[in-house]
Symmetry: C2
Subunit: 202 residues, 2 copies
């Protein structure tokens, strides 16, 4: 048997392992967002993902390991969505695009999952210590991208302050959306906010 | 023994019972806000309140009964703080007072406790059904009071929309304050927001 042969046999196994891990993490995000903290145990998530409990425990021996990995995945996903380049068409209303992009970040499945971990961190200082730097990094990425979508200069102080308020507003709208579908009311608030931003940034 | 005598003997007992109930509820609010959902069990709250477990179970036979009563207390407190008349001095900046009052409602102990119950409601549709009307009633009270503090006319559409956005912003700021003390950054956002409100409402 050649070395190449060995590598070929190992690669599919590593690939399967990677896919299993990803499936477990996306099932955990879904479980947290839809069914809350109590639904995100290794056993429940294994069942949801269609993975054997043994395989799940191989990847995540404890609930703590599962939650930590999920938290990293959630903030990676959020940072991805924050930094994703959205070429804004020349004739677009940049303020509306920026506000809608910010609000979209806080009303998706990832934010709902993060909120559950966030709430659980109230009674878990180790978890809180994990979240704080991730949240700060995401907030910086969201801020940078919103400035870029606005087309604001880096030294535009009014834009920086308006963007900061925009992200706080988006977080509040995200929270309101966790109990019931708030999309109709949210569209009105986004329109009002865009109007206020335009008045400030003109 | 006269009827009056009986009444007199019974009143202190009823009064003690009322005080015990109130103490259990305020301990539950504190436990939720400081230590999260898992800290709010009948036994843990009895210990925190310095009440015997038997007395606590007399008032709240189940955790569900304790959480339901706490939820009502939290939203009564929030609605109280929302509707409390704040005579605004003639020379005050009404916009700043209104924004600061709105933000104060969402950054206190009651909101942090409500947030824990809110997060737990993701996996509990009965709890969600309880919260939704209370939250809606509180939102209406907060809206009315913020309009009154602004001194806006009831038919001022721009003011209604700005107030709605203000309450969403306040909710977002409240959430940001649950992981770590966010008061310094919040003061800047409140100043920016007040400036934008003034521009819109002039």
């Amino acid at each position: 048997m050649t070395t190449a042969g060995r590598t070929n046999r190992r690669e599919p196994q590593q690939e399967r392992s990677r896919i299993t891990r990803e499936r477990l993490l996306s099932s955990t995000i879904e479980a947290l967002a839809q069914d809350g903290w109590s639904a995100a145990t290794v056993a429940a998530v294994a069942e949801r993902a269609g993975v054997s409990r043994g395989a799940a425990q191989h990847h995540f021996p404890t609930r703590e390991a599962l939650i930590t990995a999920t938290l990293e995945q959630v903030f990676d996903d959020l940072a991805d969505s924050a930094t994703r380049a959205h070429p804004v068409p020349d004739d677009a209303d940049r303020v509306s695009v920026a506000v809608e992009h910010a609000v979209a970040m806080y009303t998706g499945t990832e934010f709902k999952a993060a909120l559950q971990i966030w709430a659980a961190a109230a009674s878990d200082s180790a978890l809180r210590a994990l979240i704080l730097p991730m949240e700060a990094r995401f907030a910086r990425a969201a801020h940078r991208t919103t400035m870029a979508v606005l087309g604001a200069e880096p030294d535009d102080d009014a834009a920086h302050r308006a963007v900061q308020a925009t992200l706080d507003l988006a977080r509040g709208l995200g929270l309101a959306d966790t109990l019931s579908d708030d999309s109709a009311r949210r569209a009105q608030v986004v329109a009002t906010w865009s109007e206020m931003m335009r008045a400030m940034l003109v």
